[in-house]
Symmetry: C2
Subunit: 261 residues, 2 copies
Amino acid sequence: MNKKNNLLQCPNPQTECKECPIRKMALFRDVPEDDLGWMQEFRNSQYLLPAREILFRQGETAHTLYTLFDGWLIIFKILDNGKRQILRFLLPGDFFGFQVNSIGPTGGYLHSSLALMDSTLCAFPTTQLRLMMEKQPQLAIRLAEMEMHDMNLCQHHLIGTGRKNAQERIAFLLLELFHRVRLQKQNDYDESSNSIIFPLTQEDIGDAVGLTSAHVNRTLREMEKKGWTQCQGKYLTIRNEEALSKTGQFDPRIIISKPLI
Amino acid sequence: MNKKNNLLQCPNPQTECKECPIRKMALFRDVPEDDLGWMQEFRNSQYLLPAREILFRQGETAHTLYTLFDGWLIIFKILDNGKRQILRFLLPGDFFGFQVNSIGPTGGYLHSSLALMDSTLCAFPTTQLRLMMEKQPQLAIRLAEMEMHDMNLCQHHLIGTGRKNAQERIAFLLLELFHRVRLQKQNDYDESSNSIIFPLTQEDIGDAVGLTSAHVNRTLREMEKKGWTQCQGKYLTIRNEEALSKTGQFDPRIIISKPLI
DNA sequence: CGTAAATTTGAGGTGCATCAATTAAAGTGG
DNA sequence: CCACTTTAATTGATGCACCTCAAATTTACG
């Protein structure tokens, strides 16, 4: 039950914080370059987590904070009835492993975390965060900012699950993930391409938006027949973004991380 | 459509921050007493908002941050199809009005806010928050802490709406609100009483957990017949907390605000 | 190339929605 | 304090979106 250590230590040399390509999205974005050196001292290491492996399970004690460096992860909870709810999709730059994501009142994780594809993580000890924030108050502001961004997504997620039908929920989810990936790759990739690598199974989609995989399948088929999307294999293609955003009530501006105030 | 100024200015004298009875729950909790004076300079005033009046509407431009001093409020969103999703219940000490609660990318509110009973608010200008945080880094940490607490509630809300049936959702909601109110009144009230003032209509309950008011009614009746709760008039009584927490999968420890790390 | 995992499809059932009408409760002004 | 009005609660009949279970088919992968 308590399978641990799916993590593999990264081979050296590892990425320096100073040269980190995703830092512009990450917690340390606002830390001055000169201070990154000692910040990096706090870091444990970089780790590799293979696809479909668990990083932590609800109940385990937590002592590590993570920044996702490369890959896709999910944060989810298994209920008493065995059902699974996916709470959050993690993309490169996302920060997690603390309180609601998910250290509970007992000190153990409230949720579990799983890699959807081979992923790389930067880790440092939970105990250091407050210390670092006291030395670098910018860090606290940036953390609040990131929290708010995640909260925004969580609220949209809630709105969908509470008040939208299957098609509306799925349209929103596909567009959200599509745009989040695109925001990452804005330099690397062909802007005009409307496809992304998409590692979710239909069961994952269902557990994110509160539907059965069978119903997800039927809904995806419908949307394909209408020529809105293509979602098969490891790729997602958006063919009619306008129709999708309209039914899903999705506005791409929610994806952009805004300053706190 | 754009009805404004449901707010009434409070009669003087107003409560001093230094003597504020809810500060132990609020944003300024960790600000040293000596600094509260100049903090208070930033504050606009205290306002009264009558029951069932709107504080702000989605779309309006935002320039005020609020701490709820007394009363109950909800934050909600109206979808294109006219349906309403309640995102958050605000109790005294809660802080809101910023980004996800709810300033969107356009600078306007994403959500609306409504008083469930006569309420009192402390207000200060949006533009001051960053300034205050720079002078008082504790404030940023405290803000992140409160955000995380709210995020936790939001995630539980999502779990319920996504993966629980009507009875489980309602049981969780009633217990959550019951315990939050009790935590407030821990000194004022009789600890042993299992009743609280409860200003939600059945439609409010439905819009919080994603059900019709008709179905909420039938479910509440069921739970009353089983002797679990009594929810009528302006009161909620918990009669069988064990049964309720078990079906709702509610753990009162999630209510307690934990330090950031 | 063989096995496991994911997708696809079908038949049948149900939890909750929808719509509508009735009853009860809460305000409101005289 | 009572008639009046409005709002909320209650209840019933009917329908559908989505679930459940299961089998067939396709795809992924060592």
